[in-house]
């Protein structure tokens, strides 16, 4: 009898404990799900807010002007020396004959972007036959008028409360009524260098600067990093000295990046007198920063190769170098490439060290080589974010979208390489 009651009480306690364990299990899963959902929501919110606020930057309003390409302004002998600004302004005056007086005309000219004459100049130089004829051309409007047309400036507010004056509204409405205004894709964003006029500002200069910088980073850090890793992992004796080096490499990976900038300023610019604001120096500094980030995954890739491969190669009479170069290195390559690409992606998003060596600068020209003055994408984004003009808010987000796209492409390449060449044992 005691036996039976014992079993029963045992069962009850057992059931209760079991239920409790199941509940704990379910709670644990729910916590995990909640964590992932929260992270996912934050990411979605962040990305969608950036993409949403970047949208206005990808289009720009243009107005069609009838321009008489008169020989008074442009001569057929030297079209590149023509007064294109004068031509555009004359066309605008013809469009609004009622505007007179110096001040009013100046206000009228401001509804066009300073890039308006560039469009005309490009067109006329490409087709010199246009000189002397009448030409209908879409030219960009100023950033303020564009924002108003996009609905980002509330035109119902009293005049003192908005950037666009009542007069500007009348002029814009007239152009709208005559069906002269069109919204076009903002090619300037991708073809221009930096500018102080939001509608003229583009990321090409910064993008090319980033690519030059990363090229230097790759050339310096990849061979150095891989050689260091091969030596440490495959050749060097395991003793105190190598242990010390290993600890230091791991520590270097965690050093704040601004420190590398200070080092770069002291060594490359002040001591070696390399030029400021150049991708060469930027690349060197980022290479120093990337080195530990290449060495660590490269060593991990070497360590993951089974010793049987090395032993088999040694067994058939290969030398140490042959073992490494013919067998281990090719097998470790996918891991090395992944590490390198992720290290470079990190370098591509870095601003702090470049601040110290002068790459946070206003540069209009697209850099042609590694010693030309250049800035990089994240620095460009930061500078745009600090500009007071309202239209730069969208430009900033657009810059972030481009940087994120670049990083996504690079990371996708890393995943592709890993999948393509990876061997499992």
């Amino acid at each position: 009898m005691t036996d039976k009651s014992d079993t029963k009480s045992h069962t009850e306690a057992y059931e209760a404990r079991l239920k409790k364990r199941y509940r704990a299990e379910r709670r644990f899963r729910a916590y995990g799900m909640a964590a992932i959902m929260t992270a996912g929501l934050i990411l979605v919110f962040l990305l969608s807010s950036i993409v949403y606020s970047s949208l206005p930057a990808f289009s720009h309003h243009h107005t069609r002007l009838d321009i008489q390409v008169s020989t008074d302004y442009v001569s057929a002998d030297a079209p590149e020396q023509g007064n294109y600004l004068g031509l555009v302004r004359a066309a605008l005056r013809d469009q609004f004959p009622e505007v007179s007086g110096r001040r009013d005309k100046r206000a009228l000219y401001k509804i066009l972007s300073i890039g308006a004459s560039d469009e005309l100049q490009k067109r006329v130089i490409a087709e010199p036959d246009l000189i002397g004829t009448r030409l209908s051309l879409d030219v960009p409007l100023s950033d303020d008028i564009d924002l108003m047309l996009k609905g980002l400036i509330d035109r119902t507010l009293p005049e003192s409360d908005r950037i666009v004056s009542d007069r500007d509204l009348v002029w814009a409405d007239k152009l709208l009524a005559e069906n002269r205004i069109s919204r076009k894709f903002a090619f300037a964003l991708f073809t221009n260098g930096d500018s102080r006029e939001p509608e003229m500002a583009g990321i090409r200069g910064a993008l090319v600067g980033s690519l030059w910088t990363l090229l230097v980073t790759l050339i310096v850090s990849f061979p150095l990093g891989v050689l260091a890793a091969i030596y440490l992992e495959e050749v060097a004796p395991k003793n105190r000295a190598t242990a010390l080096i290993e600890v230091n490499i791991n520590n270097l990976a965690a050093v704040p990046s601004i420190v590398y900038g200070l080092l770069g300023l002291a060594v490359f610019i002040n001591f070696f007198h390399l030029p400021r604001s150049a991708p060469l120096v930027g690349g060197f500094v980022l290479a120093l920063m990337t080195l530990p980030r290449i060495i660590i995954p490269t060593r991990a890739a070497f360590a993951s190769i089974p010793p049987s491969i090395r032993e088999a190669a040694l067994g058939v009479g290969a030398s140490r170098t042959q073992v490494i170069m013919h067998h281990v290195l090719p097998l470790a390559m996918p891991g090395i490439l992944t590490g390198t690409i992720i290290g470079l992606a990190q370098a591509a998003g870095e601003t702090a060290p470049l601040l110290m060596i002068g790459m946070m600068a206003f540069i209009v020209d697209v850099p042609g080589d590694v010693t030309a003055k250049a800035t990089v994408l994240p620095a460009q984004i930061y500078m745009w974010a600090n500009n007071p003009e309202r239209a730069f808010v969208a430009r900033t987000s657009a810059g972030i979208v481009v940087l994120l796209t670049l990083l996504l492409v690079v990371n996708a390449a890393a995943i592709y390489f890993r999948r393509r060449f990876e061997k499992r044992w």
Binding site: I114, R162, I219, P223, L274, L280, M325, G358
Partner: protein, 354 residues
């Protein structure tokens, strides 16, 4: 081993040779400008215009801050050093001496004024402040309000004012929340000097203290409170504009050009009875405003092409004049006679002496 050499060693050698080649002195055909982030938007506008309309290359403008710019500028003569530095304050005596020690003769140009405004969201009631009230709202230590002052001394206490109405009954009954620039910013320096210190000097004992113990006076009048009422909002003023629109109780401290660009969202506080408007700052009526400068390295004029032309562009009526394009960017122009003076200084490279 051969493959190894080509793949790994050659690029390194190539890089080293490249470094050796460029490290030799280089001729420079592009003006280099460093300095204040406040002058940066104006200097870049002029640089861009200059690049578009002249035969010279567009100058490179770096935003390093006034102090950082002067340090780079005074580092020496030679193409690796910048040609012009911008500053949102005048060069200090010490910096001038450093420059002189390196044999650098400089020309000073004042480009215009910049106002510092305290602004709230458009919908919120407009603040009407005196500088003394600004000091009481922002300083870490203020004279003890519960203890009458002696003739020469008021006991400083930790700032007890948590609401604007605690400072003066006429002010709104809302919590003091000020979003301001961080310590690295020149705007903050100017705010501390022009708003806080001047406001503190309205207390007679502070004025006396300034003569008696200047470092103590500086400490008391220029230390910003750290109890959460003042929030360092970062250098990004556009972000501040968004924060202010979202929180009508908060007050932001920034340069006039941001108020100008966001006149549909923000309203500036009246200071000493004067509204922060373009005209009031240009006339010098609005109290919290400062001059903006740039300095030219005379030895580089003629060596680096285009410096005189760039200065002429900057000081032309179409740039820093009353209708100039810099005014559209938020610069507040100098009076006509001063503009003429600095235009001449730029042309003649008048040497600055201190």
């Amino acid at each position: 081993m051969n493959k190894f050499k080509t793949v790994l060693v050659q690029p390194i050698l190539a890089m080293l040779i490249g470094v050796a080649m460029v490290s030799g002195a280089q001729a420079r055909d592009q003006i280099e400008i460093v300095g204040s982030s406040t002058v940066f938007p104006f200097a870049t506008s002029v640089a861009e215009q200059f690049g578009r309309t002249s035969k010279f290359k567009t100058p490179v403008v770096e935003s390093t801050g006034s102090g950082g710019g002067l340090k780079l500028f005074c580092a020496g003569i030679g193409l690796e050093h910048p040609d012009i530095t911008n500053a949102s304050r005048r060069i200090k005596g010490k910096e001038f001496k450093n420059c002189q020690a390196k044999g650098i003769d400089i020309t000073e140009i004042v480009v215009g004024f910049d106002g510092i405004v305290l602004a709230k969201a458009k919908g919120a009631p407009q603040l009407n402040l005196t500088r003394q009230q600004i000091y009481l709202a922002t300083a870490k230590m203020v004279p003890n309000p519960d203890k009458p002052c002696q003739s020469n001394w008021c006991e400083p206490v930790k700032n007890p004012y948590m609401k604007w109405s605690d400072i003066d009954a006429s002010l709104p009954d809302v919590k003091i929340e000020i979003l301001g620039p961080p310590p690295t910013s020149g705007t903050r320096d100017a705010f501390q000097e022009l708003a806080m210190s001047k406001g503190a000097n309205k207390f007679p004992h502070m004025k006396k203290l300034k003569k008696a113990d200047k470092s103590m006076w500086k400490k008391l009048t220029r230390t910003v409170r750290e109890d959460g009422a003042w929030i360092d909002a970062g250098e990004n003023d556009n972000l501040m504009v968004q924060k202010l629109s979202a929180n009508p109780k908060a007050v932001g401290v920034f340069g006039f050009s941001f108020l100008d660009q966001n006149s549909d969202r923000l309203r500036g506080a009246i200071v000493e009875g004067i509204e922060p408007s373009f005209e009031n700052i240009a006339d010098g009526k609005y109290g919290i405003s400062r001059s903006l400068y740039f300095y030219i390295k005379q030895a580089h004029v003629g060596t680096v092409p285009g410096i005189s032309e760039f200065v002429a562009e900057f000081t032309s009526e179409k740039a820093f004049g009353e209708d100039g394009y810099l005014v559209d960017k938020g610069l507040i122009p100098l009076p006509a006679s001063e503009r003429q003076k600095y235009r001449n200084d730029g042309k003649n490279l008048t040497k600055l002496s201190m």
